[in-house]
Every structure is written in structure tokens, then in C-alpha cells.
């Protein structure tokens, strides 16, 4: 049964991804402006001939549907095309940016769930206490703290006043000559501030979801049954309430997987972090269609499969769910 379900879901994925790609492509090309215009406008030295050459180079002299089909044909060979900006293959650019983003997003994700879930359980188990109120208040503050402000303060403190942390960038200037361990240490050192900023507050949402879901579970009949059996608070909470309350979190994790490769533009820009957020942002503002299509499409694939994985995990973990 599960196998058939998985196959069916995988088959649906194909038209879904096609639809996403048509939409993305359409929206991009319907937006005013073009890469040619952004490179040539208001330049008194640009001749009409050069503009034509550029249009041909970018394949923009062809009708829209042909451009899309050409893109699709290349995609069938796992070729995302070349960036308009520097003519490098899109896949190379993504592979350059992906490690930096994963390095930042994976720990952030782990922090978000690793801190958020215990905090949520704690708040649910001790409703109305001072600690719970304090935690709730703090999680609201953390969630609403603007990332750019926090980043600037930390850069000022750690980088300028104390002078111990790198302010921005992925590695030190001289790090090309370092050994592999020193290189790793150097990158880790550069990771400190961006990681603090991007995970600050990320747990807040998770802890709120978790708290609600535990509170809801605690009102169920089987919890009363558990108490009636004579179990204490701790056993009821950990053995009976928690596993059930955790189920909805699977959806959250599934969605977060799609977000893993989409870096945060703000954090990456402030810290000059060479990740996917900046890649996509710069491609969007520079009309670099191939890069933008590539990033959007890879994001779509991950989101679709993240959701699929979440649904399958549900089936495996919750005996009530059958496909």
C-alpha cells in the first residue's frame, strides 16, 4: 500500500514541477525589463548592434515559448544553462553557494527544533507559572527582534570593540595557504556571528507550536486514562503526550527542508556570506534568468520531496494513518 502511495505521489510530482517551472518562467519574463536593458540603458556608448548581439547571446531574440522549451530540453540533461552575468554554468554557481548556505541553515534548523521542542513541552507542562510567562515573553521578543539590528550590534561588539570575531565573510584573506584543519577552524570562526543571528528567534515559532500541540494532547481521553492508571506527571508527559504532540512537528520539518537551500538574504547580505540567498537576490535584481530559474526549480524540488517525506513519516509513525 505504502509503495503504491509513494509511486502515485512521485508521479504527481512531475506535472507539479512542470507547472511550477512554467509559472516561474512566465512571471520572470512578464516582469518589465530585461538583462539586456539593465546592461545597456542610459549608456551613451552602447550601439544598437551591441544590443542586438547581447539579445542573441542571451537567446532573447527568440519567442518566449521557444526560450522555455530550450530551457526544458536542457533541463532533461540536467543542464540549467549558463548565468547571463558571468557565463558560468548555473550548476557551478549553485554548488559554490550551497555549502555556505547549508553550513548556516542546518545548525539553525537543529537549534530551532532542539531548543524549540523542549521549551514548548516545558511551557505546556507548567502553564501559568512565572517561568512559563517569562519564556513566552522572551520568545516573542526573540521572534520580533530585527535580524539586521541584532547583526549590527554583534558585529560592533565582537568585531570592532572586542576585536575577536570576524565581522563578515566566509574565510580569512590568507586562508588559501592554510591546511585543511586550520581552514575548517577559520570558517567555523566566521560562522559564529551569522549563526547566532539566524538561529536567534528561530526556536520561538517551534516552541509556540509545540506548546499548543502538547496542551491540546493533554486534554485527550487517553491522557486521563494514563493518569487513572496511576502514572505520574513526568511519565504521562514524556511517554503518552509527547509522541503524539510531536506528530504535527513533522510537517514543520518537512517544510523547513525546502527552506534549507533558500538562504536568508538579510543575514547573508549583512555578513557577506556567499550563500544561496545572495545568489538568488542578485540574480533577481540583475535579470539573470537562468540562475533564478535554476534556484527556484531546485527549491521547488526540495519542497515537494520534503513534503512527501513528511507524509511518509506520518504514515510510519502514526498507526491511525493508512494510505
Amino acid at each position: 500500500m505504502l509503495l503504491r502511495y509513494t509511486l502515485r505521489r512521485l508521479l504527481i510530482t512531475v506535472p507539479l514541477l512542470l507547472g511550477i517551472s512554467v509559472l516561474t518562467f512566465g512571471i520572470l519574463h512578464l516582469a518589465p525589463g530585461s538583462p539586456v536593458q539593465s546592461e545597456t540603458a542610459m549608456n551613451p556608448r552602447m550601439s544598437a548592434e551591441s544590443i542586438r548581439t547581447l539579445r542573441e547571446l542571451y537567446g532573447m531574440d527568440k519567442p518566449l515559448h521557444e526560450q522555455y522549451l530550450a530551457w526544458l530540453r536542457r533541463l532533461a540533461h540536467f543542464d540549467f544553462g549558463n548565468s547571463f552575468k558571468d557565463q558560468r554554468p548555473v550548476i557551478d554557481k549553485v554548488m559554490d553557494a550551497l555549502p555556505a548556505t547549508l553550513l548556516l541553515n542546518l545548525p539553525t534548523l537543529i537549534f530551532a527544533f532542539g531548543i524549540g521542542i523542549p521549551l514548548g513541552i516545558f511551557s505546556a507542562a507548567r502553564p501559568g507559572t512565572k517561568t512559563e510567562k517569562l519564556l513566552t515573553g522572551f520568545s516573542f521578543i526573540a521572534w520580533s527582534m530585527p535580524a539586521f539590528w541584532l547583526a549590527l550590534m554583534l558585529q560592533l561588539l565582537g568585531g570592532v570593540w572586542l576585536g575577536i570575531l570576524p565581522i563578515s565573510g566566509f574565510s580569512s584573506m590568507g586562508s588559501l595557504d592554510l591546511g585543511i584543519w586550520q581552514k575548517g577552524l577559520d570558517i567555523g570562526w566566521h560562522l559564529v556571528l551569522p549563526l547566532v543571528v539566524s538561529s536567534f528567534g528561530s526556536w520561538a515559532v517551534v516552541s509556540r507550536y509545540m506548546r499548543n500541540s502538547v496542551v491540546e494532547t493533554l486534554g485527550q481521553d487517553y491522557i486521563r486514562t494514563a493518569y487513572a492508571k496511576g502514572l505520574d506527571d513526568r511519565q504521562v508527559l514524556l511517554r503518552h503526550a509527547m509522541p503524539n504532540a510531536l506528530l504535527p512537528q513533522i510537517t514543520q520539518v518537512g517544510l523547513a527542508i525546502g527552506g534549507l537551500i533558500g538562504g536568508s538574504v538579510i543575514v547573508e547580505t549583512i555578513f557577506a556570506w556567499p550563500g544561496m540567498g545572495r545568489l538568488a537576490w542578485e540574480a533577481a535584481t540583475g535579470y539573470d534568468y537562468p540562475v533564478l530559474m535554476g534556484v527556484a526549480f531546485m527549491g521547488a524540488i526540495l519542497t515537494v520531496f520534503g513534503n512527501l517525506a513528511a507524509d511518509l513519516a506520518y504514515a510510519a509513525l502514526d498507526p491511525r494513518i493508512r494510505y
Binding site: 518589465p32 547581447l54 584573506m173 557577506a272
Partner: protein, 539 residues
């Protein structure tokens, strides 16, 4: 116990920080006057480069890096007002300006050791003219009929007719024939990411979105630069850049007026860096009238608006005072700027008089009217804080004389395609950016008013047309300057634009550099020839 440990940790951090902070004492550099080789200059740029090839179209960052890797035949001099020889040691105009003969320097080698020759120059020209090459330089060479190379060190360029801006085109970096002649698509060539040039620095490494690293060329024809490494670090955010400068991890960066006036006076900045303020060379801001629209076809109305503008208040408001008012289409440090023409003063009485004379009488709502119509117009700007601040101040200043400006803001490409190119505006505010040559044919000549052309305001003055044409064919530099100064005076009289201001150039530089040479327009030109880092300060 616990609080003690945290206290100890903070103490250790502070101590570490203190050590770091006082690593260098810039006030007492013992070996200040001893020229030393080595060290690194880290320059901050806000965007990554695209192609490190001077021939194919690239962005501003690419051009900055290419300037260090490649040489042109000529280059702007230290003050950026005249040309001097670069790969060419001298040149002469022949046949009444129809031919330019360049004499190349002896013994110049490409970074890979191959000898540079006149064949490379001819090849670069052919590459630019190749229809398959995507380049912005083609129009610079439109006038070239042919090029021949009688020997390895002589290049003869034949023009279709005498062409005075000829030298300007040859600032472009020359690329190596031996590496590129068999390239079938220069736009996608791997050379663009691994450039080989003749310049003071050699390309070493380019890490996407992080940095570009160059190293001093030991065989550079003007001598090896003292500073061994040049790193261009890409930092998109300007606050981050300033903090890197304060922390000493960036050595050279541009500053915004706000940073210059408010965030760089503290000890944390002065400890490591110095800030400099020089007149801008590159651009000016203006408000252009659509001369085909009423009432701006009437010079009186244009003058009335010009008198209504308080340029000093505008510069204070937009640039915190770091800019110069201008009187015409050049920036004041350029030779072609006519010093006898003064910027239009703010004179509200004169402005009101002119409007009254034209029949626009003050209406009940504080807006002037004529035949029951308000004196209101659509003032368009492309999206962005800078332009927005300019037009908001202009709007207030116009309101004082009873003129209503309705501001419309559009995204850049929409602004161009739907409004500028369709001439759908009464007035617009933008900036012009230019290079050394005073030629502005494309902006003011009456033949340049087609849909995507630059004379979008529809300016048409036969005398200016003639001056623009003469300017292109007059070879004698003195006569040529006189023509452009005359053009400046005529434009100032016509007021087809309100010429507003030229922003100053503001920057911060690490105090570790010695040997800096200053002119009235800056200090960065040819830094690689003079600057050095005392040995005690090299990391």
C-alpha cells in the same frame, strides 16, 4: 561559582580584544619612511565582478579590477583631466587628424611571459568590431577605417574622418592575441575568469561572491608595485564595510555622506583609518524638462524653476553638504567646465516675476493658474532613496513659487521602457555619468532623439549641433576645449535641464599606507606606483 566563571570569561574576552585592538600603533610608526615591499591592500566593493575582460561588457567592479590587470595604449593622468602614454609611449595625429600613430613601449611582456606587440592592439580592435562580441566599446571605434602595424612597436589607426575623441577609445585594456585568437566565443571564454594582462597586478584567484585576489607583477614596465597583494573583498552591505574598516580588515572603502559625517569621528575609526573628501569626477544630478510639453517649451518657465531651486539647501539635504552646485553639463574639475558660467542662484522674486510675465498668476490654493489651469507637472524618478530625496526637496522649493510637482516613482526598467522611451513625462530626475572625454553628442545632438536614444528631452539647437560636430573633428586640444566651454555656456542659457550638483567622493583609508600622493582631485590614481606598507605593519 557560575557567575565567577562567566566573569572570568568576559574578562578574558576583553583582554583578547584589547590585545587585538592595539596590535598596531599607527601614531608612532618607527619605520614610516622606509619603503618596504610586501603586505596586502584590501579594497571593499559592494558587488561581485562579472567578466575580467576589458573588451566584453562588464560591470563597474569588473572594470576596477581590469584596470589593475590590463593597460590601454593611453590612460587618464594623475588628475584625470588629460591623457598620458600607457602601453604607447607617444603618439601623433597625422593627415589633419585622420590618422593616429602610436609608438609602443619596448620590452613589455604579458603576465605569461610572451612579448607584447602591435599585433595585440590590432587584434583587440578586431575583437571589439567582431559582431559576435558583446561589448559596449563598439561605438568608440565606429570611426576607425582600418589599422595597420608596420612593425612590432608601431600602430597606425586610420579614421574615416578626423576624430578628436580618438584617444579616449584607446584607454580600453589591450588583450593578448596569442591566448584569444582561437577562441570561438569570447563572451563565454574561460579567459574572462583567468585573465592575462600587462598591468601592475597579476590575477591569482576569484572566489565567487567573496573576493578576487591579485599579486604584484614583478616585470611591470613601471616597476614592481611595493604592495605585494591586492584583494578585492565583496561586501554588499555598507554598514558592514564601515565596520570592517574600523576593525582593520578592510583598508580602503567608499563612505556614504552619513557615514562620513556622523560615523567616522569616533576614536574607533580614527585609530585605524583616515577619511578623505575630494570633488567628484564622475557624475552630476539634474532635472530634465520634456521640451515638447507645455509649458516647458518656454525658456522663461524653465528659468523660473531654476531660480526657485536652492542648490545649497538641496546639497545639504541630500548629501549633507558633500557636493558642488553646477552650472552646466560637466563637473567643475573637468577642463571643459566653463568657470565663467556660475550656478543659477536661488532668487524667488525673480522666479515669481518670470512666472507672472508668462501669465501664470497665483491662484487661491497657492498654485499658479493660467486660463483656469494649474501650473502642475509630472516629475518622474526611478526607484531609489537618492532620487527620492532630491525630488522631495525640489517639490518643496517649487511650491514656494506656486508650482506644483507631482512625483511619480517607477522601477528602473519600467521607468525606461514605459516613460523615458515613450517620452511620457513632463520632467525627470537622474544622474549622468561620464569618462574623460567631453564629447556629449549622444545627449544633446538633435539627431539623437529616437526612442531609445539619449536626447530624450528633445533638445534641438542648431548651434549646439554644430559645436558637437566640430568637437568631434577638432584635434587641437585648446580649440576643442574652447568649443565645449562655448557649448556649456549655451546650454546654461537654454536651461533644458536644471543642473543641480556633482556629489563629492568620500572614502576611508587605513593609516598603514605610506607614500600616498595627493592631487586636488584625490589620491587613488596610480596608488600602485607609490603606496607602501612599512614592514612593521605588514600582516
Amino acid at each position: 561559582m557560575r557567575s565567577f566563571r562567566i566573569g572570568a570569561l568576559l574578562g578574558a574576552l576583553a583582554l583578547l580584544g584589547a590585545c587585538q585592538r592595539h596590535k598596531y600603533d599607527f601614531d608612532h610608526i618607527v619605520d614610516k619612511d622606509t619603503i618596504a615591499e610586501g603586505g596586502t591592500l584590501v579594497m571593499a566593493e559592494n558587488a561581485d565582478a562579472s567578466k575580467l575582460n576589458p573588451v566584453v561588457i562588464g560591470d563597474a567592479t569588473s572594470r576596477d579590477v581590469c584596470d589593475l590587470i590590463f593597460n590601454g595604449l593611453v590612460r587618464p593622468d594623475r588628475r584625470r583631466v588629460d591623457y598620458e602614454g600607457d602601453l604607447a609611449s607617444s603618439w601623433e595625429f597625422k593627415d589633419q587628424g585622420k590618422t593616429v600613430v602610436f609608438h609602443l613601449r619596448k620590452g613589455i611582456r604579458w603576465h605569461d611571459g610572451v612579448a607584447f606587440s602591435s599585433k595585440d592592439v590590432e587584434f583587440t580592435w578586431r575583437l571589439i568590431m567582431d559582431p559576435k562580441t558583446a561589448t559596449a566599446a563598439k561605438s568608440d571605434f565606429d570611426m576607425v577605417q582600418s589599422i595597420d602595424t608596420p612593425d612590432d612597436l608601431t600602430v597606425r589607426v586610420h579614421y574615416k574622418k578626423p576624430y578628436a575623441p580618438a584617444l579616449n577609445a584607446w584607454i580600453i585594456g589591450i588583450v593578448p592575441k596569442h591566448l584569444l585568437e582561437h577562441e570561438n566565443d569570447i563572451n563565454k571564454s574561460s579567459f574572462n575568469r583567468n585573465p592575462i594582462g600587462t598591468g601592475p597586478y597579476k590575477f591569482i584567484k576569484w572566489q565567487d561572491k567573496q573576493f578576487i585576489q591579485l599579486e604584484a607583477n614583478p616585470d611591470y614596465y613601471e616597476g614592481k608595485p611595493h604592495i605585494q597583494r591586492y584583494v578585492m573583498k565583496i561586501i554588499p552591505d555598507e554598514s558592514t564595510t564601515l565596520m570592517e574598516l574600523k576593525a582593520g580588515s578592510v583598508d580602503l572603502a567608499g563612505l556614504s555622506p552619513d557615514q562620513f559625517s556622523r560615523q567616522t569621528d569616533g576614536a574607533d575609526f580614527k585609530r585605524v583609518a583616515a577619511k578623505y573628501h575630494f570633488p567628484g569626477m564622475r557624475n552630476y544630478a539634474y532635472m530634465g524638462f520634456n521640451l515638447k510639453h507645455k509649458p516647458f517649451d518656454d525658456p522663461k518657465i524653465r528659468w523660473a524653476l531654476s531660480y526657485a531651486v536652492d542648490r545649497k539647501a538641496l546639497i545639504d539635504g541630500v548629501l549633507l553638504g558633500y557636493g558642488k552646485p553646477i552650472s552646466g553639463p560637466y563637473v567643475p574639475v573637468m577642463k571643459s567646465y566653463n568657470p565663467e558660467v556660475t550656478p543659477v542662484p536661488c532668487d524667488l522674486t525673480r522666479s515669481a516675476q518670470l512666472l507672472d510675465q508668462a501669465g501664470w498668476k497665483m491662484g487661491p490654493a497657492g498654485v499658479r493658474q493660467k486660463d483656469g489651469k494649474d501650473l502642475a507637472f509630472r516629475l518622474l524618478i526611478p526607484q531609489g532613496d537618492f532620487g527620492k530625496r532630491i525630488v522631495l526637496i525640489l517639490q518643496q522649493q517649487f511650491a514656494k513659487v506656486g508650482v506644483k510637482a507631482n512625483i511619480e516613482t517607477y522601477e528602473w526598467s519600467l521607468f525606461l521602457s514605459n516613460y523615458v522611451n515613450k517620452r511620457d513625462f513632463d520632467a525627470l530626475t537622474m544622474m549622468w555619468q561620464f569618462d574623460l572625454d567631453p564629447d556629449q553628442y549622444a545627449i544633446w545632438h538633435s539627431s539623437q532623439t529616437g526612442p531609445e536614444e539619449q536626447n530624450f528631452i528633445g533638445y534641438n539647437n542648431p548651434e549646439v549641433d554644430r559645436l558637437m560636430e566640430q568637437g568631434r573633428t577638432t584635434i587641437d586640444p585648446k580649440k576643442r576645449i574652447a568649443l565645449y566651454r562655448r557649448f556649456h555656456a549655451i546650454i546654461a542659457k537654454d536651461q533644458p535641464y536644471l543642473f543641480l550638483f556633482a556629489p563629492d567622493s568620500l572614502s576611508g583609508v587605513s593609516r598603514k599606507f605610506q607614500g600616498m600622493t595627493f592631487t586636488d582631485v584625490g589620491y587613488r590614481r596610480f596608488w600602485y606606483k607609490d603606496w607602501y606598507i612599512p614592514a612593521s605593519l605588514q600582516k
